[in-house]
């Protein structure tokens, strides 16, 4: 039986009338009074996710260096903790990795415990739990709960610790909301955690198999949308374009109190995905975490002064934790992977639906093959960019033949458009990608700047985005338009791009993925 129940932040209008938010604000305020080198401080916890502090190897000469962040909050840059503390705890966040969901779950458990202790010390409820922001919920929940936008607490004089100056929103005007779409629940129809099948585009719901991945290359489907998109939408860019919002960059994101409500929602979606009958990996290298392979351990400072070393196996089921969510169904609602395939086969005009559909949770991809590319780098400027992806006739024929011969027992190929080695200097940007003038998808560039740094943990290779264009290719096939030699790809940025520092795409390519 869970001791704590996480509830919707929009209860009672998302204002300070919601006691979860009022006490969260007071708890955050208490943590903010502690010094940077205190493991229980707000600042120390933000640095666990990532940091750009002077005196560390992540230092930045200007923004987003922590010394250049405009108040509020007034971010301290001294005193730094001991080197062992920094090496043990800081810069841990797992991104572009199958460790993304479990690492963040442990992070929230630790932060929630810290806030609860502070809340109790201030005379608040002993069962306080972290609320979640369900921006994909009904009515106006796509807007940030109003408690985060008030300059003061209800007393009218105490500064509101939830209020952040550098939070600009999707239109860069301080109006914080989540545009739905492109933000969506699409990942919830996936049935494979790592891998792909008829219902799941790669790299899967939870992310690609990696080691310890403070920066990686390809985001999992939950991470890609809604996680990355919400980060970039909330953060945005300042109206004059000189800086970007805290939430837009992993090295400053956890300074914004709304970060934890966003991640509570991501955590809730993972729990909901499991309750719906989907399984987490059972591979030992996921269950045991990266420390079992000689890499850094996941470790959190807890409210009682201890250091909690944890593995994914210990947090892969809410029954193993001390909390739950207020809206999780109690019975499994099995995902409809076979329905997805059946609908696709119908579109392709498959002659028969007889046969045994594959096991819904099985990764059925057997091989991946390049179909075509736009060779040469592509710079994305404010006006966008355009590329002609040249298809190899032989591989294109294989793709067509797979669609032609599709059946339940011979699933058709999936197809992906890849933007490879994407590099840039600013994360607060989304790219709309069109194939033959049809929207193929929207990607958020959360993590781009760090992945582009040559001496950072990703070696400067940049990010790679995989857009599932299976449905689009099916349509081209049905319309007899897949025989063309090229695909037209258009990329439009959501914000102006610095003319001196365009976003570069190393290569645009199309892949087919064969399934059994």
């Amino acid at each position: 039986m869970a001791s704590y129940i996480r509830s919707n932040a929009w209860n009672t209008g998302g204002t300070f009338d919601n006691p979860d938010l009022l006490w969260y604000a007071k708890g955050v305020g208490a943590m903010m009074t502690r010094p940077l080198n205190d493991r229980n401080s707000w600042w120390f916890f933000a640095a666990i996710h990532g940091q750009y502090l002077p005196g560390t190897s992540n230092k930045q000469p200007g923004f987003p260096g922590w010394q250049a962040i405009p108040a509020a909050p007034a971010v301290p840059t001294r005193p730094l903790p001991t080197q062992p503390d920094m090496d043990t705890f800081w810069d841990q966040c797992q991104h572009q990795s199958w460790y993304f969901p479990p690492w963040h779950r442990g992070y929230l458990i630790a932060l929630e415990g810290q806030i609860r202790k502070a809340v109790i010390a201030l005379g608040g409820p002993s069962n306080w739990a972290l609320p979640y922001w369900n921006y994909l919920g009904s009515d106006n929940q796509y807007e940030i709960p109003p408690a985060f936008t008030q300059p003061t607490l209800p007393d009218g004089k105490t500064p509101n610790p939830l209020f952040v100056n550098a939070r600009y929103g999707p239109n860069n005007d301080g109006n914080i909301f989540i545009p739905v779409p492109p933000v969506s629940l699409a990942c919830m129809s996936n049935t494979v955690y790592t891998g792909s099948n008829a219902a799941t585009p790669r790299p899967g719901f939870g992310g690609p198999q990696t080691g310890f991945s403070h920066d990686g290359a390809v985001s999992g489907n939950l991470e890609s949308n809604p996680h990355n998109q919400v980060h970039v939408d909330v953060g945005g860019n300042s109206p004059d374009g000189t800086i970007w919002g805290l939430m837009s960059d992993p090295g400053i994101a956890a300074l914004d109190p709304v970060f934890y409500l966003h991640h509570a929602n991501i955590d809730r979606m993972w729990a909901l995905w499991n309750v719906s009958g989907n399984s987490n990996p059972n591979a030992s290298n996921w269950l045991s975490g990266p420390a079992a392979a000689g890499e850094r351990a996941f470790v959190m400072p807890m409210a009682d002064g201890s250091a909690w070393v944890y593995t994914p196996q210990e947090v892969d089921d809410l029954k193993k934790t001390n909390y739950t969510y207020d809206d999780l169904p109690t019975t499994a609602n099995s995902a409809a992977a076979s329905q997805t395939l059946a609908i696709r086969l119908q579109k392709l005009g498959a002659p028969t639906m007889a046969g045994q559909p594959p096991e819904p949770s099985k990764d059925t991809a057997t091989e991946s093959e390049l179909v075509g590319t736009h060779d040469g780098a592509l710079d994305i400027r404010s006006s966008g960019a355009r590329a002609q992806v040249r298809l190899d006739p032989g591989v294109r024929a294989k793709l067509s033949n797979s669609l032609k011969a599709a059946s339940l027992e011979s699933p058709p190929d999936r197809a992906y458009l890849q933007l490879e080695n994407v590099r840039g200097t600013r994360d607060a940007q989304k790219l709309q990608v069109f194939v033959n003038e049809h929207l193929a998808g929207t990607v958020a560039l959360f993590g781009l700047r760090r992945a582009s740094l040559r001496d950072h943990s990703h070696g400067g290779s940049g990010l790679t985005f995989e857009l599932d264009i299976t449905s689009l290719i099916d349509t081209l096939y049905v319309e007899n338009a897949l025989a063309a030699d090229t695909l037209d790809v258009k990329i439009l940025p959501s914000n102006a791009v610095d003319a001196e520092a365009p976003i570069s795409v190393g290569r645009v390519s199309v892949y087919r993925e064969k399934h059994e």
Binding site: S3, R39, S57, N58, P84, I109, A110, G113, T194, P203, P208, Q209, G211, F212, S288, G289, A292, A293, G294, A297, P301, M302, D304, G305, S306, A307, W308, V309, Y310, T311, E314, K320, T321, N322, D363, A365, S368, E369, L370, T373, D375, G376, A377, R390, D392, V395, E420, N421, R454, D455, H456, S457, H458, G459, G460, S461, G506, R507, S509, E513
Partner: protein, 260 residues
């Protein structure tokens, strides 16, 4: 296991097999230090033998073959990640060709490095035959280089896998260029380490094996900030340690280990 993991496993298996072949040949025909063999060839103790006499005992062709075998045995296991990159970014029908071109570029860089390193080796063999000092000095130099930010820079660049063209001559140039570039950063990272077994009068093969383990181990680490630090065996030793002793872990409600 995902499709990508299966591809990685196939490439790693092939790389280890090739390396094993290299090691087998090297072990079947043990290496003889030029300095040592020259003395066997008649150099009087204390005299200064000529380079020509040394090359008569160790003809360039033999030195070149030995160098290539060393590269295959020691370096191929470090190439799994870039080979997987070439494999995945190439058309299926061009994968073999692109991998061969990558290997040519990579090998060409190392053969040029071999000319320089072997020349240094020969000169030291002539000037200080049977001496342990050159190897000791190389070991000190290797230790210094191993800890330097410059070494980290080379390792970081080795992790950078950039875009590759896929069609026609551009694809060939890209694969060749990637191999050459990767080879140059690899040389920057490993040149000092390679000198140590070369200059050893005895224990050459054992030192080669140790250096191979170190080079594989340091590639298990990801890119890092540039700074002076001891690097190389950290992750590998932690892997071995954690296999022997499971990670300490407890649930929050079960009580925590006290922070250190």
């Amino acid at each position: 296991m995902t499709e990508r993991q299966r591809a990685r496993r196939r490439i790693a298996g092939a790389a280890l097999l090739l390396s094993a072949v290299g090691w087998t040949i090297l072990l079947a025909a043990p290496y003889t230090s030029p300095g040592l063999s020259f003395c066997w060839g008649g150099g009087a103790a204390g005299s200064w033998p000529s380079l020509r006499a040394l090359l008569a005992v160790h003809p360039p062709a033999s030195l070149a073959v030995n160098w290539v075998l060393m590269l295959i045995a020691m370096m191929v296991p470090t190439l799994v990640a870039p080979l997987l990159h070439v494999h995945q970014r190439s058309f299926r029908h061009r994968r073999g060709r692109s991998i061969v071109l990558f290997a040519i570029g990579y090998g060409a860089a190392w053969i040029l490095a071999g000319v320089v390193l072997t020349s240094v080796h020969l000169m030291l063999s002539v000037s200080a035959p049977q001496s342990l000092w050159p190897a000791a000095a190389a070991a000190l130099l290797a230790l210094l280089w191993q800890c330097s930010p410059a070494k980290q820079l080379c390792l970081n660049r080795s992790h950078n896998h950039s875009e590759l063209a896929a069609f026609g001559l551009a694809a060939d140039r890209a694969a060749l260029g990637f191999g050459l570039t990767h080879g140059l950063w690899c040389i920057g990272s490993c040149w000092a380490l390679m000198l140590v077994p070369m200059l050893l009068v005895h224990g050459h093969t054992l030192a080669m094996a140790a250096v191979t383990v170190l080079m594989i181990a340091e590639r298990l680490e990801g890119p890092r900030p540039l700074r002076w630090q001891l690097r190389g065996l950290g992750k590998l030793s932690r892997m071995i340690a954690t296999q022997a002793r499971p990670v300490r872990s407890r649930l929050p409600q079960a009580g925590m280990a006290k922070a250190g």
